[in-house]
């Protein structure tokens, strides 16, 4: 993904956010938005945005939708599971910090993976080193690397692999 198209996407995202927030498409309002978006794009030339590295292919668009859907269903399921644990008088937790392997190499893909793991309650990314993610797991189904990788990482990784290659 080239630097120029990354900057263009960042600029477009910022401008859309500005228009949504201001709720107006009057000329002067949009002009200020363009100036602000341009300024932010220029000073963050070399930083990553959520779009750097995202592949502009039809299948990565489909995978993005699948990722969002999978993420939302996981979020609801995990929240219900957590609610049940908290309400149970016996507090049935089996906590562990486990190691899970990820095959993702792109920094943005790894960020999304770690964030998704943290957002689904029950699992919390603590540290990432090379290919290993260290995840705190409230109800660990196993402490070996294979179980952790299968249960925690692979669901999200399937989509992210297509999105970021």
């Amino acid at each position: 993904m080239s630097q120029a198209s990354d900057s263009l996407k960042l600029f477009a995202t910022l401008l859309v956010a500005w228009i949504l927030l201001s709720g107006s498409i009057a000329f002067d309002v949009v002009a200020v938005g363009v100036a602000a978006a341009l300024f932010i794009t220029l000073i963050s030339q070399n930083s990553l945005s959520a779009f750097s590295g995202l592949r502009a292919l039809p299948q990565s668009f489909g995978a993005s939708l699948g990722y969002v859907g999978f993420f939302l269903s996981e979020l609801v399921r995990a929240n219900l599971r957590m609610a049940k644990i908290v309400l149970d008088p016996a507090l049935p937790i089996r906590p562990a910090i486990v190691r899970a392997r990820t095959e993702l190499t792109h920094p943005v893909a790894r960020l999304l993976l770690a964030n998704s793991i943290t957002l689904t309650p029950g699992t919390l990314s603590v540290e990432i080193k090379d290919e290993w993610l260290y995840v705190h797991w409230v109800v660990a189904e196993g402490t070996d690397n294979e179980t952790a990788t299968r249960e925690i990482v692979e669901g999200f990784e399937r989509y992210l692999k297509v999105m970021y290659g």
């Binding site: 644990i85 910090i97 029950g122 919390l124 290993w132 660990a140």
Partner: protein, 113 residues
């Protein structure tokens, strides 16, 4: 503002969100150590906040674009703060609660030092 069916649905969604926020608070109180508390306290709130925003959006559809931006902001920033808190706690040497099945991160740190 009239009382339509949308308003009732919106209010129920807000109520469901509030219930998850309450469970987050209860989890913060009941969990035994910092890692489990971060799990219950900062993340049951994710769905709680989403539902409250969604419910408000159903009651006031005109606010929906801004609410979606707020939701995206929460989705991107909330996990970062929980993760950094957990990492800082682990680096500061705070041990997980007794009865934790394994701490692979501490094991690997032991290997390296």
């Amino acid at each position: 503002m009239t009382d339509g069916p949308l308003e009732l649905i919106g209010a129920l969604v807000v109520l469901a969100g509030a219930a998850f926020l309450f469970l987050g608070g209860l989890g913060l109180f009941r969990m035994p150590d910092i890692y489990n508390r971060i799990q219950a306290g900062t993340k049951a709130t994710t769905l709680g906040t989403l539902l409250v925003m969604l419910g408000v959006g159903i009651i006031m559809p005109g606010w929906l674009p801004k609410l979606i931006l707020v939701i995206l902001f929460v989705l991107f920033t909330n996990p970062l703060s929980s993760q950094v808190l957990a990492r800082a706690a682990h680096r500061a040497g705070i041990a997980p609660v007794l009865g934790t099945l394994a701490d692979r991160l501490a094991e690997d740190k032991g290997d390296q030092s």
